[in-house]
Subunit: 158 residues, 2 copies
């Protein structure tokens, strides 16, 4: 099964595609970020996200999307901006007929480290170990997207 994990955002959106061979064997296929220029307006930036994410889905052909669920922050402006991007991300997934699953940061930390209050760094270290990578994927958004995909893979069971 091929999964795409997404860490949503307007300025930078992380994605990570993995193959689940079995419960204990995951393989990285692709990972990266979509960046949009801060000087552009919302509509322009959402169009970039839509076009690029659609291209990534067409190219890598996942059947499942795991999206990090918005953990509500103090900053309402950020929450609204991330939600706008999420709208476009969910639309992309729906149009490509992907199954969609959502995980909170707490669930992701719990799945990867066994501890819901783990440090970001510990989660990233586990992404590296689980996917047998030489180093932690950078930037953070990319590692976070892979962590969401791994969380879904683990939720399926053996």
């Amino acid at each position: 099964m091929r999964l795409i994990g997404i860490d949503p955002g307007t300025g930078i959106l992380g994605f990570g595609v993995i193959d689940r061979l079995d419960y204990n064997s995951l393989q990285i296929i692709d990972a990266g970020v979509i960046r949009t220029p801060a000087k552009q307006n919302d509509a322009d930036r959402l169009k970039i996200i839509y076009d690029e994410l659609r291209a990534i889905i067409l190219q890598t052909k996942p059947s499942v999307m795991a999206v990090e669920k918005l953990f509500f922050a103090q900053n309402v402006t950020t929450a609204m901006s991330v939600s706008q991007a999420r709208g476009v991300i969910l639309l992309c997934a729906k149009e490509a007929e992907l199954e969609i699953f959502e995980y909170t940061p707490l669930q992701i930390k719990q799945s990867l480290t066994g501890y819901g209050r783990a440090e970001k760094k510990q989660v990233q270290e586990m992404v590296k170990v689980i996917l047998k990578l030489d180093h932690i994927p950078k930037p953070d958004d990319c590692a976070d997207a892979l962590a969401a995909a791994i969380t879904h893979s683990m939720s399926i069971g053996s």
Copy 2:
């Protein structure tokens, strides 16, 4: 000039299309709402909004979109849901190459009634008067969408 006004929402989205003949002469072309079933998931509902709004834009061919800007509510869940819908609405506008303008509820009230704290009912009454309608368009989302379009028309000047 033809304008489409939008009152964003996931459960119900209002739209109103008007022609601006000149500063004092506006004509209603179409108005209504897009409803999505509460029992469906976010992705399904966003896809309905995307498909229906795109069809309305293709059919009525506006050159400008005026969107009500989220006035931040106490309810964060609602704010995030409305923002997801806004993401898809802005994408539709961008794909159809519409110019996009955003107005806060305060700006809309100010434009239509001259008073930023006017009652909702007063704004709706002005929509009826300005567009020379027999009655106030229903539901409220539809009247609010027309009010956004009228606000943009007034902002252009004579």
